[in-house]
Symmetry: C2
Subunit: 198 residues, 2 copies
DNA sequence: CCTAATCTACCGAACGGTCGGTAGATTAAG
DNA sequence: CTTAATCTACCGACCGTTCGGTAGATTAGG
């Protein structure tokens, strides 16, 4: 029995039940150990959560930096980033769901560190968008907002996507990219400040 | 002390900690009662969660039906629906967060009922979109997908929106509507099946 | 080669603490 | 006096974690 196997099982159970509803007993059962034995490989339940969150962010950051390093026009780079993000999230559903939903269960000290790292990751997306804006390809005044919209769409797919559904992750990514690129690509006469109503 | 006050306090605590991490003791402290006294107003912790989820859905369904009943062109109706949804979610953050994140903690029997009702609500959005499609205003082949994208963007705002931030809910709604209407409004020569790459 | 020492992986039992929930006495309101 | 609301006191179950100990593989010394 390896530490990795325990983490993997924990991710699955955390995703199904949530961190607090999942017990060490559940995890032990999943890997066919006594729960005391888990503590030979792992120091605490919190440590498991922390390891999963780190692992998830590591994966996303690594792949995002690969995409950023590509020599592509902004539009294609954005398409690629969306594809890679969705593929990663949907192929690692357990890890993704923990990343998106369970970081709240970190105790405050670790949570702060984690949020900081997550913000660094989001900064990579903002960087990608501002590259496109600087080159005059994207017409977007509020990059942080568009960035949150985009990540919102993609993150939410984790909650509803079914592998046995009609769409592959690649098709999903294509649709998602279409939607945003239509809204992003420069066209004339857009006002994008919404301070008229209310 | 009223049942409503207990539910309200519970919503706040469920939002902060999540259902399982929140204890009846926490709720009792928040309303300055002994834990046992809660059970005079409420039968169980599960019942509190169920009541909150019902209340949230009731509110959303009611307001969405009001919007659907308006006599407006599809584009304006969609803008209105987005505005009302975001305002409701952001003005009832506690309730919204519980709706979006904690329904997983319902025991299976109630969860199934709840999901069914939530699907009915989503059907209202699909109806709004297909009205626009039938009238030839919206160019959208996969309505359920666009619907999930849209709800995804809006739902995710609940996780990051700050009242002390730069945007009012109305401005947020305007930006969101702009993004989707750019992608939705009919234009020529779009292929929207993404089965090319991978 | 033998054996003693060390290490890895695991176990059963138990700990202090908290959980959701209950019973029954006590108080407040009409 | 009645009844609704709140209290104190308690329950069994389960929580994450620790402890002492064991089987078996690995290493070290002669």
């Amino acid at each position: 029995m390896t530490r990795d196997a325990i983490l993997e099982a924990a991710a699955q159970i955390f995703r199904q039940k949530g961190y607090h509803a999942a017990s060490m007993q559940d995890i032990a059962d999943a890997v066919k150990l006594q729960k005391a034995s888990l503590y030979h490989h792992v120091n605490s339940k919190q440590e498991i959560l922390l390891a999963l969150l780190d692992r998830a962010l590591d994966l996303l950051i690594e792949r995002m930096e690969e995409v950023l390093a590509l020599d592509l026009p902004p539009e294609e780079k954005l398409r690629r980033a969306i594809l890679v993000y969705l593929q990663t999230m949907l192929e690692q559903r357990d890890l993704s769901a923990v990343l998106l939903l369970e970081y709240r269960s970190l105790d405050p000290k670790c949570r702060q560190q984690h949020i900081q790292r997550r913000d660094q990751y989001e900064a990579l997306w903002r960087k990608l968008l501002s590259e496109g804006a600087e080159q005059g390809i994207f017409a977007v005044s509020d990059i942080p907002l568009i960035c949150r919209f985009l990540l919102g769409v993609m993150n939410w797919t984790v909650t509803w996507y079914r592998e046995d559904g009609p769409l592959t992750p690649a098709q999903l990514a294509h649709q998602c990219a279409n939607l945003f690129l239509l809204g992003l690509k420069k066209r004339l006469g857009e006002d994008d400040r919404g301070d008229r109503d209310n």
